[in-house]
């Protein structure tokens, strides 16, 4: 994995899996579910958290996503990066070549 750039601040975002495909998704600034973590909406405060959680639950009820949860990220000059190895791999796909194009990935 690539070396990280300097952390500017730590934050939280919301992630889930797409119901139909299981693909990893992030709730973005346009209130859409996006495969690219770079577009994820940062949770600014408790009110923001409540609002985004409600949006997530709506997406669950509408059979768009499954299993939403809040995850920590680091904000780098290059963009958002997950804190944990698990989320890093979840965001960027298997670290081993699969022989197929990989989905939208963070700058890790």
């Amino acid at each position: 994995m690539n070396k990280k750039s300097a952390i500017q601040f730590e934050a939280r975002i919301i992630t889930a899996n797409m119901l139909v495909s299981g693909n990893v998704l992030y709730l973005d600034e346009k209130r859409c579910w996006d495969e690219n973590i770079a577009n994820a909406q940062i949770i600014k405060n408790d009110e923001d958290l409540a609002r985004l959680n409600n949006m997530s639950q709506d997406a669950v009820m509408n059979s768009i996503i499954v299993g939403p949860y809040v995850m920590p990220v680091e904000c780098h000059s290059a963009g958002l990066q997950p804190v944990s190895k698990r989320e890093l791999i979840r965001a960027s796909g298997p670290t081993i070549p699969t022989g197929f194009p990989e989905k939208g990935k963070p700058n890790v």
């Binding site: 139909v20 299981g22 693909n23 499954v66 190895k85 698990r86 791999i89 022989g99 197929f100």
Partner: protein, 553 residues
Amino acid sequence: MYRYDQFDHTIVRERVNQFRDQVARRLSGALTEDEFRPLRLMNGLYLQLHAYMLRVAIPYGTLWSKQMRMLAHIARRYDRGYGHFTTRQNIQFNWPKLEDVPDLLADLASVEMHAIQTSGNSIRNVTADHFAGVADDELEDSRIYAEIIRQWSTLHPEFSFLPRKFKIAVSGAPTDRAAVRFHDIGLQMRQNIRGEVGFEVLVGGGQGRTPVIAETIRDFLPKRDLLSYLEAILRVYNMLGRRDNIYKARIKILLKETGLDRFAALVEEEWERIRGGALDLPLDEINRIRAYFAPPRYELVVDPDAAYQAARRSDREFDRWCVNNVLPNKQPGYGIVNISLKPVGKAPGDATADQMDIIADLAEAFSFDELRVTHKQNIVLGHVRLADLHTVWQQLDAAGLATANFGLASDIIACPGLDYCNLANARSIPVAQRISERFADPERLARIGAIRINISGCINACGHHHVGDIGILGVDRRGEEYYQITLGGDPADNATIGEIIGPSFSYDEIVDAIETIISTYETIRKPEETFSDTWRRTGATPFKETLYGPAHN
């Protein structure tokens, strides 16, 4: 090979239709995830890190060519062109879409396959000796009894919601190649003093966070009583097994809590109640199933094949492959071909759709249309004429399937690890790849000789690290991947749980640590010693000294 009867076809077809309706209701929102999850798990469908994962059952690991071609078709049409053969003789597809799974299952059903009971708290795919029917040391073909158990356990109404998953393995030979001592129930075929063949029944084995070697609950069980005795064990477990704590729900924990004598008495009591009844297994029924596993029509090979011998003399790579990957079939003139799914630098157990097709073609042309998946994540062609070996090897070689490392240091067993699995703490596959690259030199592999390296990405131990000569367990240490090493494990007749050797190693350090262990073994072993022999003779001290320095002891 066993072929479905009308009941099997109906059960599987109805199950596909049922799941198609369940998926439609989930996608429409009529079912919540909480409601749907147990239904999809009953059909082998998990939601992993990046996608759904479907685990397809391969009963006792045996396939015919048409089934392997269907797996290739599924890899191409519904997945990303490859599949992963597992340590329980199954195959996993890593990328199916939920909406496609009903069609995928319908395709599987067309070749007598399914994903039923590959997950959930049920009796899982029954595993067996991958050399069943071809090894010269066996009493009987273990697949006969694995198939009988499969029929009894599939959709068994009483055992569909056990306290926890339940795994059964059958070995038909005195040499245990099915790791029967590490299963919830292990069945080892034995001959009694009257010459009758039956089963030694072992119970309570397993790996995971609490590794336990199974204990013998019955020295000799007549074949006629097989199902009634299994039913009695399962019934006692189902009644008394814990359901309040997932970590204490396996039968091995119940056995520790009750003690073997008390548990055995309860089983006997139940068995006396039910034996000789509907579960009685008459010889006619055994013979009916036995007919499906009749030996193929071997040719009588009178003289050793001159062309085969000449090819071995002239082609060094072919000869190396014959030495490492081909074992004698009990039928003279035939060999057992072990196709390694462990090419250097590749993911252990993975095969592309094209490779699956080629293996299927070879099985059809040269091995009586039959092949087996091993719990060591390789493929076996059981009945190849020695005269055909060179042709088979050439075709395997062209497909990247002729790695001559069967049973050697780069024949590594590894779970999917953190690259795919939701439960994993650390990656397994890249560690296996790096170790195989380190030990890529065939001369070095030959010098080291047989050795088992097993890697699990978490304590659930799907990579069977507890029973490797060298076991590697991925752990999370403050968000970083670390690897704990165990030494001296053995899955077979001298069943042993590996011993933790010391502090864990980082992702960057682990390959050097394995190199140190193997170099130490090469230095201290006596002639003809296996790793197990050396470990038992020397204990941990020399390995600790080279890994951590003399001060560590």
